[in-house]
Amino acid sequence: MSSKFNTFLQNLDRLDRRIIFLIIGLVVLFPLLVPLNLPVEPTGLTRDAFEAIHNLPDDATVLISFEYGPSTKPEIHPMAVSVLRHFFARGYKVVVMCLWPDGLFMAREALDEVLNDERFHDLVYGVDYVNLGYRPGNEAVIKGITKSFAANFTVDSKQTDISLIPLMNDIRTVADVDFIFSLSAGYPGAIEWVLYASDPLQIPVSSGNASIQVNQLLPYVKSGQMKGVIAGMPGAAEYEALMVEYGLWNTRGEAAKSMDAQSIAHLVIVLFIILGNIAYYAKRKTQKKY
């Protein structure tokens, strides 16, 4: 190894971390300004979740719970939008609830975005969908609605008495819904839905998750306790691709657009790790020499 290259590697080891931050920032920024339109190939995990939803009976009632906030919005919000579009396109009745306070705003934003489309203009609040809003209490709320919705949600997010909402007349407990979907970024989230609602009442459940939580959920998918999982931003992009594949939507969504930046950033990080290791071994070799 030439001494110049060896010096370069040694300097690399002492590289200011701020330069690394700057490089990562730039490689993320560039594909956002100049889209590369990299292809998105759906994986089995996302396909399982998609098909579990797609194959529900036509008159199904589904519950979607928002357990994320602005901090994980870039990852989970595109899933929320796609999954809601999927529910409405299939004609399911949708019950929205939130276990995180911020989830209420995320739910409102996602519903507004989805219902803005002319295909869904005929949907009536309270008949086709309802937003029950946020209730504090974490898993106690899930446990509570296995006994009674009305005991936990006396009013919906618009402060309307729950007994005056036609959709809720048929839904006394969570056992009356056909499918649960949790948009989860941590605790309480998808795991609590499996533990306190899905397993005890045998209601199929799936989830869209922040990347950081995916590893914890894979055992539940493998054991069949959960029907697939939408894993982070790539999962959201795959779901969008499946929506196009099944003819339910016709454009590339927000997550797919962001995947260019995600992919390039990963490449650069892998490159940094390889360079870091080469620099480490070069330094060790030099130290051994002297």
């Binding site: 701020r18 931050f21 990562i24 920032g25 993320v28 920024l29 956002l32 300004l33 901090s71 994980t72 919005k73 870039p74 990852e75 306070p101 911020d102 209420l104 809003g133 946020y134 209730r135 504090p136 209490g137 898993e139 106690a140 446990k143 936990n152 006396t154 009013v155 402060q159 008495d161 729950i162 007994s163 005056l164 609590e192 499996v194 533990l195 306190y196 397993d199 005890p200 922040a210 990347s211 950081i212 995916v214 590893n215 055992p219 539940y220 493998k222 054991s223 069949g224 306790q225 894993a231 982070g232 931003m233 790539p234 962001s258 930046a261 995600q262 950033a265 990963h266 990080i269």
Partner: protein, 271 residues
């Protein structure tokens, strides 16, 4: 429109202020950090009060009722409510909390435990809050015990009892890897026997499986962080346009200049 532009400027300022920590700790970052903590706490408390405490607690103690139909204890009970109504008729509107809740005095226990929790604010009688905490801990432990035992322990054991040969090579390899991983991982966490000999070798295999798991978790964590960065950068790009008064560029220049000037000043003081 003006509120949108103002909101964009606030969002850009707070985003850049948090990013500025990557250079070094500075007053912009500290301000954003304090605003975040304060706003989060206030936001959570407000939503919890209006969505839970008011309809589900006060609403069950004093549901909306016609004063003329009140009888017995409720006459006194709603006179008490009038006092609350006098304090705030927004929180406690006349004749009870609207909604279709049924009156239940069981919720008095929740009210009392809630008041006990607030006693933490007064150090001399703060110990009373332990009663509420004891209830919360006991309830959570009881609630979780069944859930974990059924879903995490029994279902996961069931999910691990797999055939080594399924007739499909790929599935069989998957099952073998899973079984070897679980068994060797359990060997590693068996600390009452010295990790030597065959036992030590199997537990070493367990360590490799754990390392792969941690690696996968780290990979997912990095992916999550990059996604968040993408989200922030998308907002910065959106708010850099003319309709938002070039918020990103203007604030970026102001903050970079300010931080560089203060750094130079700090250096001069240090010298």
């Amino acid at each position: 429109m003006y509120t949108d532009v103002f909101g964009a400027w606030v969002a850009v300022f707070l985003t850049l202020a948090i990013f500025s920590y990557l250079y070094k700790d500075n007053p912009f970052y500290k301000l954003a950090e304090h605003v975040y903590v304060g706003v989060s706490a206030a936001h959570w408390a407000t939503i919890a009060f209006w969505n839970q405490v008011r309809p589900n607690l006060f609403g069950r103690l004093w549901p909306h009722a016609d004063p003329e139909t009140l009888t017995g204890f409720n006459v006194f009970w709603y006179k008490l409510y009038k006092g609350l109504n006098w304090i705030s008729d927004t929180v406690f509107p006349e004749n009870g909390i609207p909604g279709n809740q049924e009156q239940s005095f069981m919720y008095l226990i929740a009210l009392i435990l809630g008041i006990f929790m607030l006693m933490r604010l007064f150090p001399s009688i703060g110990w009373i809050s332990r009663w509420s905490l004891a209830y919360v801990v006991g309830m959570a432990a009881g609630l979780r015990l069944y859930g974990y035992l059924s879903s995490d322990v029994l279902s996961q054991i069931q999910g691990t009892i797999l055939p080594v040969w399924t007739g499909n090579l790929g599935d069989s390899i998957n099952n073998i890897v899973l079984i070897v991983g679980v068994v060797s991982g359990l060997f590693y966490f068996f600390f009452s026997v010295e990790h030597t000999g065959v036992f030590g070798k199997i537990s070493r295999v367990g360590i490799y499986f754990l390392m792969i798991t941690f690696g996968a978790s780290f990979g997912f964590a990095v992916m999550g962080r990059i996604s968040l960065l993408i989200g922030r950068l998308k907002d910065l790009i959106q708010f850099s346009g003319r309709e938002y008064g070039y918020a990103t560029f203007v604030l970026l220049i102001i903050m970079v200049v300010t931080i560089l000037m203060t750094s130079r000043k700090d250096k001069e003081v240090a010298e």
